[in-house]
Amino acid sequence: MSENVNKANRTFTDRARDAVQSFGLPRMIIAVFLLVLFIAAPFVGADFWTQVTNLFNRFSWNAVLVLAMVPMVHSGCGLNFGLPLGIISGLLGATLSIEWGFTGLASFVMAVLIATPFALLFGVGYGWLLNKIKGGEMMIATYVGFSSVSFMCMMWLLLPYHKPDMVWGLAGKGLRTTISLEGYYAGVLSRFLQIQIGKLVIPTGALLVFALLAFLMWAFLHTKTGTAMTAVGSNPTFARAAGINIDRTRMLSVVMSTWLAAVGILMYEQGFGFIQLYMAPFNMALPAVSAILIGGASVNKASIANVIIGTILFQGIVTMTPTVMNSMIHMDISEVIRIIVSNGMILYALTRRTEATR
């Protein structure tokens, strides 16, 4: 009798242990913390549904950038710290689309189309570089990100853009740091099929676009080529012995990642309503890297679930903490808190043990 009880207890604790283990203790803690923030919000005077809406928005802006991490992680190139390179392709697409006079939804579609050849070109070059220095990918990726941003800082000034909406008013040339997308593609996706219930607003269109891209990614990983990509990341020697061309597979993953980053930044801009140039792309890589790590990915394993969970947890914490804290102490230090929290999360994410068996 007592043995039976013991057994039932054991299986229960076992099951609990397994659940925690499969979800990961740190993720559990972050999730619980986020939940507490949500519950606390109404009590300190922050409206609950506004907060939820906020989270939906943030998710729809950022999720594609996080998704861009997936292919390179699978092929063993590690986390794409060179995300700014893809983002720059996206920015070129955005600015050229506006320069050439497109507006509304067309300006978004054209931005994606124009960004694509840039992303392919940059991706191939970047992939070639990463194939030269196998083993030190993440460091090189960081340099690539950094130097491409610096280079473009000059180019944004020098390239012959003329559209008055984008250039500095007095000089009549050189792009501004921030360009408003009003009249272009601000909100074109979020407003599509938008659902509004009281204070809750769901940016359906943007979520659908993410869902589509995520589905394509998931499907790709179930194809022959996708399987090969995962194997290359898991054990390159094994893959080579099975006749896989390692360099080509890695190259493909880098190009995919770069293109997704380009689309990702356009998604971000359409939600945010502004194009940010110059140093801005540089600040996009770390949050995306952190989000996917918090979502439970490791250096060579990442799933769509990791992307979704990670983006929700990261963006949730980063947006909720300042709001709740602010309302609590009635002082506007939200920016400070936001910086502390997001850097804290990044720091935590990067120190996590993420090695895999070799």
Partner: protein, 525 residues
Amino acid sequence: MNAPLLELKNIKKDFFGNQVLTDINLTLNEGEVLGLVGENGAGKSTLMKILFGMNVIRDTGGYGGDVLLNGQKVNFASPFDALAAGIGMVHQEFSLIPGFSATENILLNREPQKKSVVSEVFGQRLNTLDRSAMRKGASDAIEKMGVEIDGEMVINDMPVGHKQFTEIARELSKEQLKLLILDEPTAVLTEREAAALLDSIRGMSSRGIAVIFITHRLQEILNVCDKVVVMRDGEIVKDVAAQETNVTEITRWMVGRSVNAAAASHREPPESDTVMSIRRLWVDMPGETVRDVSLDVRRGEILGIGGLAGQGKLGIPNGVMGLYQAGGTVTFEGKEIPLNAPRKCLDSQLAFVSEDRRGVGLLLDESLEWNIAFPAMQIQDKFLKPLLGGLIKWRDEKAIADVTKRYIDELQIRCTSSRQKAKELSGGNQQKVCLAKAFALEPQFLFVSEPTRGIDVGAKALVLEALKKFNRESGVTIVMISSELEELRQICDRIAIVSGGRIAGILPATDSSEDFGALMVSQVV
């Protein structure tokens, strides 16, 4: 009264509900040599990992029971604690640091140091390494085993045999050692090299060091051990003095039934045409250099390739299959196969089971299904469903699961499911996965390198039988490379002996061992 050196009391271990050790009790005295045997997956390595405080054990929920060292209860938090307590371990799946040289690995953390001005001021962490003393120490340790390894060679470039020796040398050179654990150290060694190792085990035992020796070559146990402990399904079923038993008896305890060593059933070697001809092959495989090999393989035969470690027998398949830089000409079915291009070989229906199962053979982080189906999927478009008129090749999970289950049954792979990760299998079962992977390719020509490495006596007959069946029923030509001559003689039609990177001779498998022995040392360099 003196407490025994090591005592295990009621050791239990489960991996998420899968009980792999139940109530293990064991004692070991100073200078005693204990032979630990048991089927693949019996729990031998797991027990040793517990003793050595390995992280996997803690990460998977720890263990039950007590480990006593000199009568004191110990619970190692990490292998470092075990090392400090005088325990050394040679792992079944090496634990060497990839980017480091043999010397650095052997003396890791025990490097002879030189004081300098800086370290006088800032403490000994800033001592510099005494490189020449290191080289000396390491080469002494290597010499003790009677082999030659370049101390400067980096682990990644090493053939498995050298990795094994490096790992053993690391343990042998430790001075404060009290207990040494050897987990299948002889699996990749030839008899001669194994004999050298057995000698050093005897030497240690006379210096008062206790040794736990795991092997599937039971004769070795009888040769060096004081007592034999037999495990079956996570329990100790027998604990006897080595003099009082014999190989047949041990085998029976291990598998619970008697096993007849597959009788060498010889047939008339098929008198057929040449299917593969190798001319003037050289292969630059570190430690297994092939200098000048010319060899004709007949259609439908099983050709054995034997020879001492380091003489180049492993280089032949690795070179032909394009895994190491090679030159010369290889023609298969009358067509020349380009070297240094793995894909070309695979496309011509050649397959290879590598001796390096961790490095080349397995996707450790993936499921058995992936491991077994992957090459066939990539090379032959098997296990794929065409979608959108063939535009998309979708993974056919069901076909993959089916083929995996088939080989799990056929080769009796011990696992919890076909989705289990390859790294969670015992060494012998991983080896079976490597074979299944090649079988799933259904090649016309198969190179198998050390196919029975780490496989228990019962399963060995099974694996050899499977190879034979594959050859007889599907007409596959097999070239089998092995350091165990007896095994080659069991299933091969002809055996080529490699010595000094050249073929020293090819004899029918029925010739006497002495003839083969003479060939092996004929051109040693």
